[in-house]
């Protein structure tokens, strides 16, 4: 039984079929890639699984539990973390606060603790901060902990977002184009970070990417989505040489 199991998921936006008969099985510790041209429905699939949309048809099981119809906050609490294609960070909040926020449900001290600084608050805060710093270190931004996010460069923001997602202790981490807008140097760093995170925390990762090199190097298994349909899946090598994938990306050869 896969950790995350999607069966025959179909979704319509009005009359538009955005996702058609989609199947997915992610095993614990597996890195799964989702590639496809713009508008293929990749982010829609992320939004469907994380509960932002509810699929028209199909089943989604996380750890054997059906998660369809649950609210995003419930699905997140069950072990699904994600980052976004265009960063969704909180202006005017510090990097540390971003990661702390992800520990919201673990904070048990209340008003009295917050206002009078009880030992319980100090203990919990110390614990949360220690955990936060270790995650920030894992993605290499611990030195920026006190900074307001609006002041940070783009590459650092992507890492903050990843640390925030990791702080929710996901079993499966969803990364929506983790290298979007990055230069080649940042891209290599991001690849190392994802490897490090994967190795350190042993979680399953599901990522959307455009850059083939990145996908080929990182992923154990890759799906190719075109117009809401998986047209090919397999190991990176299989995908790379699949004529259907080449056609979807480069177009059919018409000159003879």
């Amino acid at each position: 039984m896969p950790l995350l199991h999607v069966k025959n998921m179909t979704h319509y936006f009005g009359g538009l079929r955005a996702v058609h008969n989609y199947n997915l099985g992610i095993e614990p510790g597996q890195i799964m890639g989702l590639i496809g041209p713009n508008g293929a429905g990749k982010t829609t699939i992320f939004n469907l699984i994380t509960g932002i949309y509810s699929p028209t048809e199909g089943n989604i099981l996380l750890d054997g539990n059906n998660i369809i119809g649950l609210q995003p906050y419930q699905i997140a609490a069950m072990g699904l973390g994600r980052t976004f294609q265009n960063l969704q960070l909180w202006r005017h909040m510090t990097v540390l606060e971003h990661v702390k926020m992800a520990r919201y449900s673990k904070i048990t001290y209340g008003l009295i603790g917050a206002f009078f600084g009880t030992p319980k608050r100090h203990r919990e805060e110390a614990e949360i901060e220690e955990r936060a710093y270790s995650l920030l270190e894992l993605v290499g931004v611990q030195h920026l902990a006190g900074q307001i996010v609006t002041n940070l460069p783009y590459g650092a923001l992507r890492r903050v977002e990843m640390a925030r997602a990791l702080a929710t202790e996901p079993k499966v981490l969803f990364l929506d184009e983790p290298t979007a807008g990055m230069n080649p140097e940042e891209l290599i760093q991001m690849m190392q970070i994802i490897r490090g995170v994967h190795k350190e925390l042993g979680l399953a990762i599901f990522l959307i990417e455009h850059r083939m090199k990145f996908v080929m190097e990182l992923c154990h298994y890759v799906q190719t989505l075109v117009f809401g349909k998986v047209i090919a899946e397999g190991t990176p090598d299989e995908i790379q040489n699949n004529p259907k994938v080449i056609e979807a990306y480069l177009g059919k050869e018409t000159v003879t």
Partner: protein, 310 residues
Amino acid sequence: MTLTAFLQNVINALQWGSFYALIALGYSMVYGILLLFNFAHGDIFMVGAYIGFFVASGLLLLVASLGIVGLPSWVVLVVTIILAMFITSFVGMAVERIGYRPLRGAPRASAAITGLMIGIILETGNLALLGARRLSFPALIETTTYNIGGVSITNKKIMIVAVSLLLMFALHQFIQRTKWGMAMRATAYDFTVVPLMGVPLNTVAALTFGIGSALAAAAGILFGVAYPVLDPYMGILIGWKAFVAAILGGRGSIFGAALAGFLLGFIEIFVATIFPSTLRDLIAYSIILLILTFRPHGFFGEAHTARLRL
């Protein structure tokens, strides 16, 4: 204007501004979270004042029936404020639950109209329940007037300004130090990710309405202490003026709302000392219109508004 008269006006303006500031905070907080103005907020101020009236009357009866003598008068006032704030916060949460939550996906005009309707329901509901008579807020504390160098200050004015500032400080601490405050800040900046942190947005919305309403209730009681006549329509004008303060401070800005509330108090009081008092609002609000012409987003508002709604 002599220095004495000036200082006298400063004190009056601080008291007057306290009411605006406390009410404006509720407008601004709700806007920050839900991107809508709760136009029933002025009427929640009224409801808070009435709840304060009943709590205070009840407490006075209780104290009398128990035969407690020598209880300091401020004890009843403090308990009244705390209890009434608590009860009114549930009124605010009910308004959110019944009036606004079902309209999350609806056009924003619907939410605005709903707010106005809830306001009318609260006013006329009060009228139906209690009749068209005015109530007189119980005198919880005796007025003592201090005369400092020709400037007269009453203990009530000091109390009103002090309680307002204390509440604003407490709100600031709440937002900065508690996990709920952190969730509110995060929601105000970008709500899409907040649920993924395991935080239900409905909780944040209800909490925001609850706190805003509690602050309005505090304003209502303080108002009742200063001007002890309650009527069902008492929240309309002061509510609109506090709304102006919220806009002037910058939509969604807590600090801005508080500051602009006090500024509004100053403008109104000082305009009234210079010009005939019948022209007070005309001139005062023309000044504010002028400020907004040059600073359309208010003092601390952010220019971008292209966020989605909860």
